[in-house]
């Protein structure tokens, strides 16, 4: 789609994944405030991606599956807050594990978005 937003999102996911694994390994839970700042930045990036992706979809001539594409964009935005809500109630390492699942889900959605977009490129 647009690399300038996909690459930072994947970068933030990667940092978050490593961070959660370190927190789980060191039994640091609940996660620090700094970690939630990272999630906040990721959220903002995903909202930007939702807007950019929607505009790009409206303008493109490619045979992109529009409904699926938008569904992935929307899911991506929702995964982080829902994951954080699930994690905050469970203040053990399993709660941090939920954040790991959420970050991996966002990353997986990025690859799906990219493959949906690259059809007919």
């Amino acid at each position: 789609m647009t690399a300038w937003i996909t690459v930072p999102v994947l970068g933030l996911c990667l940092v978050g994944v490593v961070w959660t694994i370190v927190m789980i390994a060191r039994a640091q839970h609940p996660p620090s405030d700094a970690f939630f700042v990272l999630l906040g930045v990721l959220m903002v990036a995903l909202v930007v991606q939702l807007v950019v992706g929607g505009v790009a979809l409206a303008r493109t001539d490619r045979p992109v599956e529009g409904v699926t594409f938008v569904a992935y964009l929307l899911t991506d935005v929702l995964v982080v807050p829902v994951g954080a809500a699930l994690a905050l109630v469970e203040r053990s390492r399993w709660g941090t594990g939920v954040l790991l699942v959420a970050l991996l889900t966002v990353a997986a959605c990025q690859f799906r978005l990219e493959s949906l977009w690259s059809v007919g490129a």
Partner: protein, 149 residues
Amino acid sequence: MRSPGERTTDAPVSPLASGPGRILVALYGVFAVAATGRSLVQLGLEAGNAPLAYSLSLLAAVLYLVATCCLLLGSEAARRTALVAVCIELVGVLVVGVLTYVEPQLFPDKTVWSHFGQGYGYLPLVLPFLGLAWLLRNGRNQGSPPPGE
């Protein structure tokens, strides 16, 4: 493994959704959304193409939703309902997994369970085993709650 006393939950949380169960809720939740989305798009846009595959996508969606909700509810009835859903899920992923290799012409379009969930990192194959283990273990501990903790 006992859940350690480090958990400081104020709200009443379903025993099936706490500790390792939280991860299962997250995973089942992701697959509930993924399968529901997939089946709605498939049935809404191209229902005639592959009725069997699309019906299976819908079945998978319903099973994942039921399992997620039952884990969050956490009662004994919910645990049994989840057990049934997870067993059907296990049979589904195994049968569809085998059929997509043996009789690929039955599946002109993909389902969540195609090729044992290959498109989803084989998680659809792993998930029912994790679910079964968790639900059965909680069933055994049900009769004897840890005293005064």
